[in-house]
Symmetry: C2
Subunit: 101 residues, 2 copies
DNA sequence: TTGATATTTTAGTGTGTACTATAATGACAT
DNA sequence: ATGTCATTATAGTACACACTAAAATATCAA
């Protein structure tokens, strides 16, 4: 799955955000979300296959972290998204639309 | 719909690409795609509501163009995607995965 | 007005996918 | 080995949404 499609799912953005500035085990991630462990594991698989996260083993745990380095402009986009510094494109568009068209 | 979700759909990326460096009428766009006019119109609506395209009227036609200016880092991402200068994150991830884990 | 053209909107259908529950795998301890 | 813990994989279900076909809206011309 390409990165853009992977990131379309809000839950996956949430997961990526959780492993953005620190690494976390799958269990740690799952415990913080209102869905089953299985669902989280499936999302982690998609994120991994899209090249958005890295995994390593640590005993019986799998430890995930965002692969920020190889993310290109997508990295800036997400950082702006999470720090609230993102221009709200939608609102802009709606404002202009009600103004003219 | 947020921009990331809007861009998850390949057809919408295709449409955005069509109006990236020149403006086009809805009909012109639809004629270049293997789906009905109605389907294209629906996609254009989503792109517009996500703030990714602008529209103006020109007689009985609606003329669309990409709203590149207010797209932030997403703009660079898409430009790299279309010029083929994008690092293939997925391949990278798979290569490393078969190497260790 | 009527008619033709350009586009949007609506209703209905089929497919993709996020989710749950459960089974299977893997790692460590005893 | 057996048992427990941590995680992934699989089967089934429900809902979101891309699509088609058809109706509605808008603009221009005669």
């Amino acid at each position: 799955m390409d990165p853009l499609t992977a990131l379309a799912e809000p839950r996956r953005r949430e997961i990526l955000h959780l492993v953005w500035s620190r690494e976390r085990t799958a269990g740690d991630i799952a415990r913080r979300l209102p869905v089953t462990f299985g669902a989280v594991s499936q999302h982690l698989r998609v994120l991994r296959e899209a090249g958005l996260v890295d995994v390593r083993r640590g005993g019986r745990q799998r430890i995930y972290r965002a692969r920020k380095e190889s993310m290109g402009p997508l990295r800036e986009y997400l950082e702006q998204l999470w720090t609230g510094r993102l221009v709200i494109l939608k609102r802009l568009a709606e404002a202009e639309q009600s103004a003219n068209v």
